[in-house]
Every structure is written in structure tokens, then in C-alpha cells.
Assembly symmetry: C2
Homo-oligomer: 302 residues x 2
Amino acid sequence: MSILVVGSVAFDSVKTPFGEVEEVLGGSATYFSTSASYFSGVKLVAVVGSDFPDKHLDSLKKRGIDISGIKKVDGKTFRWKGYYDYDLNQAHTLDTQLNVFSDFDPDIPSAMADSKYLFLANIDPELQLKVLEQVKSPRLVACDTMNFWIEGKPDVLKKLLKRVELFVINEGEAREFTGEASLVKAAKKILDLGPNTLIVKRGEYGALMFNGTSVFSAPAYPLEEIYDPTGAGDSFAGGLIGYLANSGDLSDDNMRRAIIFGSVMASFNVEAFSMGRLGNLTNEEIRARYYEFKKLTRFEEL
Amino acid sequence: MSILVVGSVAFDSVKTPFGEVEEVLGGSATYFSTSASYFSGVKLVAVVGSDFPDKHLDSLKKRGIDISGIKKVDGKTFRWKGYYDYDLNQAHTLDTQLNVFSDFDPDIPSAMADSKYLFLANIDPELQLKVLEQVKSPRLVACDTMNFWIEGKPDVLKKLLKRVELFVINEGEAREFTGEASLVKAAKKILDLGPNTLIVKRGEYGALMFNGTSVFSAPAYPLEEIYDPTGAGDSFAGGLIGYLANSGDLSDDNMRRAIIFGSVMASFNVEAFSMGRLGNLTNEEIRARYYEFKKLTRFEEL
């Protein structure tokens, strides 16, 4: 079953303690699609400017991603510039240029309107709602957001969440959105808004899933070097939803496996800038790291 | 097999978002002993002042702890005063009065000198070394420390670590001690100093164990309310070493179980001030929470 993702395709300029890159391929939908493509078909809807090179489109196509929903329009592609200090959980933004993204009005091609798995990457919740209205009868609607929308459009976000099954956000955002210091309380409040599953991303500390009856704690993979955390959250979501879409199984047991695959993909992603590692994986590497997570967390009954 | 612990027995005054207590029973050795007493015999060596009430000694005795090594001397008992904001990972110290603790010169009673399990709670590493020299042939030497000694006496600490098997410290301290932002690199450097096992405590994010061949990630228990984090690290160590001493099994598999029991005890401890919860547990409650950790982390093979 293939996934429809709507989000950003962008140029990133990033500096970390391990190096610096200028205008490399980035964006939430790019990271998500590349990650999900190892598990499932992906249809990508986004907008880029006339400066967006074909080689990037080709690299997405090579991963089997359906890019017919990427619109190329006059103007410049969305750009983000930022850096990370040694605390790699914290991105510092230096510059955001929305460019062609500021007029983005997602129009879902009719061939994609019957997608069963939908991921609304982090964009304006008004646009996320607009996309949702164009998709006929999705089986799973998942979305992400960020503090900017939590602060600026909390009511639209709440309206959206009524129609979302799986909500994926950062720990700090969960606290900010609910005004609760306790993550357990924050999760209850968020589940009350609509989603039946909440996944809280905690960077180098892994992820927590809440679904009202069960809590799952997944670690992050302890890497010797994290070269660039950019896109870790979207790579996580890509592995997660990719695995769910491929298996078609939304049970608690399978959600846990999917979260581990999300963590696996995020752990590969941070090993290089841009798609340096995420774009060149083998199924064997992915499977082997899944088992590394098993070893990492294993402990026996008494 | 019983454990010898040397550390502080103190009065704590603590304020958290959930309440405030004045001069309640605290101290690293108190938390450690109370926690370990559910698993193993414990002999406690410490010093208190003439203001230390018998009721506190009685409550330790009731838990089966051998308090014959607690020396009562003229003067006032060690006092710590601090508070926590909503970030419960961070203790803010308002006042530390060493009092009788400033002249503490631990003299291990000869009946305790053949202890096989030794926990050197966080005190001056010179004193930790002094204790170690008095214990004949321990099977497991474990120790804790803090940033104050890492900054003030790094060389003494390094000398101590050559003779320590199991080293338990906080995440921030592991980074500070080694000058490595990467925890994986920090762990390698610390293991090179002597210990064969390092456990890094990460507060509400759980704990990571490194032993050179295997890494284990344990979550913290997601509690709705954390009333008071004081003593969480020592309760963790108590459950950990208590379980190891009781089973006599230092294998990787058993170390993982022990870390979960440490996490279980820490999770109970933070549910109340002082020994409010840690002092009144049943074996059934402890066992049940162990299985809660199993549910929390469980995911299946593919």
C-alpha cells in the first residue's frame, strides 16, 4: 500500500561540530519519502522553485518515489539555514526563506486522492487540513507539527487533530502544546483531542508511544558520532509509516515494531549530512540494525 | 551476600513543584541502603550528629539494615537544602552544611571488612579509597561520584577507578569527566580507566550500560507525577547492587535485570519525599513493576 506525503522539499545549509554543507537537498517530505521508500511506495506532493535541479528529482525517482506531485514553479526553492552545537538535540535557525513555499496550495492529483496512508509533514495546519479534505477515505492519517504552529495556530491544529489517528511530535512541543510538565499528563490531553496514538520524539533519548492502553519506550541507537541531526524526525516518521503501510497491520504489537524501524532509519540518517547515508542503504543494513535495537533493549524474565 | 555501603546520612530540606519538606531523612547511603534492603543484607557505615533522632535509626533497623557502623558524634548532622523546578532532572542547591561529615574518616568495623559487595556512595574520592583499602577481598566494588569531585580531584578519582568494577554516574558528569560530547566515546574513555562496567544515569530518560562488548538501554518508568527526584540515583544503585549481591551473578544478562530493578526502585522513590514510598514497599509491588518495565520495552522479532 503506498503512502501520500505532503510537506517541504528544500535546500538546507547546515553546520554541525562535524562539518558544514551548503544548499544540500533537505525538507521534511524529502527525508520522509527517502526513508519510507525502503518499506513502501511513496507519492510525494510538494512545490519547488525553478532553481531546483533535475538531479535531485532523479535521485528521488531512483528510490522509487512517485514525484509527479512535485510542482515546479517560478521562483526560488524553500531554504533553511541553521547550526547545531554539541547539544545536537537543539537546532538553531539562522535563516528561513519560504520562497515558493509561501504560496504553496497543495492540490492532490486525483490519482493520489485514494491513498490509504497519509502523512502530513510539518506545514501550516490549514494546509494540512486542506490536504486531508482532498483524500477520500484514508486508513491512517498521521501528522507532525512544530512549535511555530502550536503557538500561532493552536485552534486549527486542534481541529486537524480530531481527524488524525497518529500524531508525532517532539517532547518539548508536547509539553508546550498542553501546558503539562509531565509527559504522561501531556499525552492524555493530546489523546483526548482525537489521535488514538501519540508518539513523542526525544532525540538522542528515543521515543515514547502512548495509545491510551499501552506505553512503549524505544531507545535511540547510541552512535559514536552524530554528524547531522537534520531530518531525524522525518526519517523516523518515514520508517514508521513505511513499515505500517507495508504490513497493513495497525495493532499495538506492530506499531512497536514500526517505531523501532523509525528509530533505525533516524539512526542512519544522522550518520551523514542530507541523504548521504539515508539515500544509500540496503535492506540488510536496515534489518541488521533492527536486531541491534533488540540486543540494546533485551532483558530476561526473572 | 550482604553489601557494605559507605556514604552520607543526612537531613534534607527540599522544595519541588509538588510540595516542600524540612529536615527529612536523606543522604546517599540512606537511599541506597533502604533500596538495597529489599534484595540483600546491607551494612551501613556513616557518621551522624548528636541531633540525629533514634526514630530514623530505628526505621533503618526495621528494614534489616545493619547500622552498627553508623557513628554518632558531637555536632550537627550533614544537611542539604535544595529545590527543583519543572525540569526535575536538575537539582538546585541552596545550602550544604557538611557539619560532622567534614571530619568523616570512615573506619570499617573488622566484622564488615570481609564484605564481598562494596558500594562507595558519592563522597570525597580520597575517603572512597580509604574505605577500599580496609576491605579485604571484595568481589564487586561499585562507586558513584559527582561533578564537585570530577572538577576538584580528578586524579584521585582516576586512581580509585583503577580498582572499581562498576562505575555509576550521571550523563552530564560522564561528559564533563572525559571532555567528550558523545556518550559512546565518553564510555570508552571511562572503561579505559579501569571499570569493566559503566552505567550512565539519565534521569527521566533511564540509563545506559556499557561494558566494552555490549550496550544496554533501560528506560525510566513514565510516571504521571514525580514528587521528588532526590535520591533517585542512590535508589537506582541500591536496587542494582542489591539484586547483584543477592543473585551472585555478574553476567551481562543478570546485569541487565539488575539495572531494571535499579530503575524500578528509582521509580518508586520519586513518587514521594524522603523514604515516603521507598521505605514502605512490598516485594509484590517491586516484582509487578519489573513486569511493567517488560511491557514498556517489549517488541517482537520480525
